[in-house]
């Protein structure tokens, strides 16, 4: 059971979360060229090792988090709020 240190709720089981996917993706503007959208939506990397991914604390505070996780060992290096403003507030 992966345990995730939610910045809002504390350490919780992964069963409280849902996995969002690659958290490093910068989605293009809504009117961006199709190649940008294809890259963002379909051309994903299958990383072996440390990966930035998004997790949703769906059965908790409902906040989206950015988690740096090793896909081999499941070791978690860092967890932060996905929303930039919360990141700033929690840092203080």
């Amino acid at each position: 059971m992966i345990r995730i240190q939610c910045p809002f709720c504390g350490e919780r089981d992964h069963s409280e979360f849902t996995y969002g996917g690659d958290g490093s993706i910068k989605y293009p503007a809504l009117n961006a060229p199709i190649k940008d959208w294809l890259a963002a939506v379909f051309h994903r990397k299958n990383i072996r090792g440390l990966q930035l991914e998004s997790w949703h604390h769906i059965n908790g505070c409902r906040m989206w988090l950015l988690v740096e996780r090793d896909t081999v060992t499941h070791k978690i290096e860092s967890v932060r709020a996905a929303h930039i403003d919360f990141q700033k507030i929690l840092k203080v």
């Binding site: 059971m1 992966i2 345990r3 089981d13 849902t18 969002g20 958290g23 989605y27 503007a29 809504l30 009117n31 961006a32 060229p33 199709i34 959208w37 294809l38 963002a40 939506v41 379909f42 998004s54 949703h56 769906i58 409902r62 906040m63 989206w64 060992t73 499941h74 070791k75 978690i76 709020a81 996905a82 929303h83 930039i84 403003d85």
Partner: protein
Amino acid sequence: MTAQRLISGGRIDRNKIIKFSWDDCWMNGHPGDTLASALMANNEKVIGRSFKYHRPRGIMSAGVEESGAIVTIGEGAKRDANVKATTQELYHGLTAFGQNAWPSVRFDVGSLSNAFSQFLAAGFYYKTFMGLPPFEWGQGTGTWMLYEKLIRRAAGMGTSSREPDPDNYEHGHIFCDVLIVGSGPAGLSAAAKLSQTGLDVLIVEQDFEPGGDYLNQSTTSVKYSQLLENINNSDIRLMTRTTVFGLYDHGTAGLLERVTDHLSSPSAASPRQRFWTVRSKHIILATGALERNIAFGNNDLPGIMTAASATTYLNRFGILPGKKIIISTNNDSAYGVSIALANAGASVKLLDARTTLPSKLSHTAKGHGVDLKASAAALNASGSKSVSGLEIATLNEEAWVQGGSEDCDLVLISGGWSPIINLLSHRGSKPLWDDENCCFMPGSTDEHIEIAGAGIGIWELSKCEVSGEVAAAAAAKALGKTTTDVKKPSSNGWSEKIRPLYEVKIHGKGQKSFVDPQHDVTANDIKLAHQEGFISVEHLKRYTTLGMATDQGKMGNVIGIALMAEALDKNISSVGTTIFRPPYTPVSLGAFTGRNFNNHFRPLRRTPMDEWNISHNATLTDAGLWRRPWYFSRHNETIKEAYIRETTTTRNVVGLCDVTSLGKIAVQGPDATEFLNRIYTNPFAKLPIGKARYGIMLRDDGIVLDDGTTWRLAETDYFMTTTTANAARVMVWLEELLQLRWSDLKVHVTSVSEQWAGCAVAGPLSRDILKSSIETPNLASDENLPFMGVIETKLKNGVPCRIARISFSGEMASEIYVPSDYGPAMMDLLWETAEPLGGCLYGLEALGTMRIEKGHVTGAELDGRVTLEDAGLGKMASNKKDFIGNVLRKRPAMVDDYRPQLVGIFPKNRKEIFNAGAILCNEDNISGLGEGWITGVTYSPVFGHWIGIGFIAGGYKNWISRGAIAADPVRKGNIEVEIVSPHMYDPKGSRHHG
């Protein structure tokens, strides 16, 4: 084997008798006995029959590695198959049965298969019965399936009860700082060491008594008593009868606690077993080691067991397991066993495969009357149902030769010790072969796990104690606590070298030597697998089924791997090992299930009007987690009669329907309008306050996600509705967009599905109902509440409500929402007016009929493959703004004219019926995936025949003059159908505009 209970000694209570039954024969045992020890004390020899050859099997060990004494416990619904007699605690009235045998384990007709065993080698059944010519040529696997049933009946283990499990199971959760697995010398020492630190420590022991190897000593160790006292006086928790069956990420462990499996009459309030999830910060594995067998002829005969288990039966259970004992060993550990047995009065001969005997040990053993022989090993056992003699092999220049034979009634084997590395393997740590100790040692790990004692190849009890303290100190340090210093034990491993020995055989002489007795895998099977090209251990395992029985290779894996290495002429380290996976010992399915079954399998969502609906004669149905009215039967109407009446009444008069299950989301904030404009395909920027709009959301890839209406209540306040099925998904999607992508938008979304109870009022008289139900009737006029209009007001009874004039049925209709608790009050009020007017209540079935007549889509159509155009909603895409999915929905394959598109379906012969799920085919080509499919059908009161909705290539315009077939070969056969526009009823929408 002529075993006998001694008059004194052991940890059993001879003053109390426990009566139990073995194959319908009542016997006596004592508190402290396992079923195996009690059977042994009663001199029972044949306890089981083997998996494939039905060979007689006896007690082979004293623990979880047992492969012989596997029995069925209990009768009827409580029957529990494949229980290891060595781990089953005895209780009054226990009933045990031999299994895989007829009529009994002592005389088994199936043992005839042993006579044909040379034909039954690895892969025999597959080779013989699969693709058996000439019957199976071109027949697929039909004949194999027939044979398989017969084969399965002949081979196998116990059978489980077919009745529902009458027992209860629970799930529990534990948090701790340090989890110690095993309460032997290392585990208890570690715990005692940690008792100084104030850390929260949990020790878990699979046995019913803590102590591990301490329990096998002839006298109770003083250290053992001190450690237990120390732990009992601390806050440390000790769980017995509990197995750590798996280790998972981040310090999580899975535990199975056997709560009542040892009780004759458990309290009805107690669960049979508990499934615990432990979350720990640090883990100490003090799991010990298991003694190995050696492959030699007939090494599975009853009366042959591991050497150390004899000490257990002697010292823990007070049983002398044999009178004339031969021990075959390749290491020092069996010397202590020989001395203990000789002291208890047995005649003991010890064969040591090593050319030189260990000087000090052999001197002591001789002093106790043990007959020692170097360069010797067990070669072939004889006896029909229990061992009565042993041929001995002696070493002649590193080759085994015949060395005479001797009578005996018990053969004990020590082929070396294997650390129990299963739990660390669960963490993905690869075991490493150790040539010095002839075993796999635990590999390295980055996780917070320490290993102590025999689990890292420390074979001496006192050194195990120190090793436990070392592990405790390391765990304490990692958790920021200090302990007094401990020195590492001087050395691991053997003081006198072990001789690698896995199989004893004489060149050119055939014999049946078992590697994995539980699955009847022999040394020859391993060699055969090698000859047939299976050289990877993983393939070897699957081909021979080595290590795939309920003991998961605890006894046989190392021998199998060693023999494979020999066949390949490689080192064991380069052959490697298979990976151990959870569970360490079997876990009953009931424990995994816990209380999550039947009605507790998933939550039930009831609308606030659930009781109201039931009291108005609703028949209910499940819609996802929700329970909704299906139809409201009057005067014993069938479902069909009911929904036809409800549809007709709603279309002609008025109907009320509980629509609470629709998803409802409050979208609020200064940027709410901009947000909606981005997520919906159609424009929302200019939606006036007091108006609702139907909208469709796409996913990033341009596929339709969901549809629904969104109502503008105020400048910055919207009320969004979603489909019942997608409510949760849409909420997650909106949260993702706002938090991950558009954190600059000032919008907050809140799920308010549970906060609002909803009722649809549909039909020509719906406005009359509204007028009579609200405080200010005039607000419901066509002017104040036009089509897609929204008002917030109060019901006549003072309940605040919001109303939108929207229609799913196609009739003039409104949805009224009130705070949840007022749902029943709202229904009372509306029904008070509707009933006298001749209105009705309608359920999901009538709702479905009306939406199919109208060609409105639901979850059945929006299945994650459908584009706007496919759903006939292409006009909903704005070309004046950007929105999610707008770029990728224009990919060439997504705009292909020949994609399946939403259509209506009529039977060509209007009297015929067709089914949802049927495949739509071109009339002259009924094959393959066809041209489309049917998602919903209903009898349509307005048309007077059955109609359907579905998708077909190119849409209905492509099929105007072409015949189609609703192909449904499994259920109904093929029906000719006519493809029509999906807007079958009132295509202009004049009815809902009123």
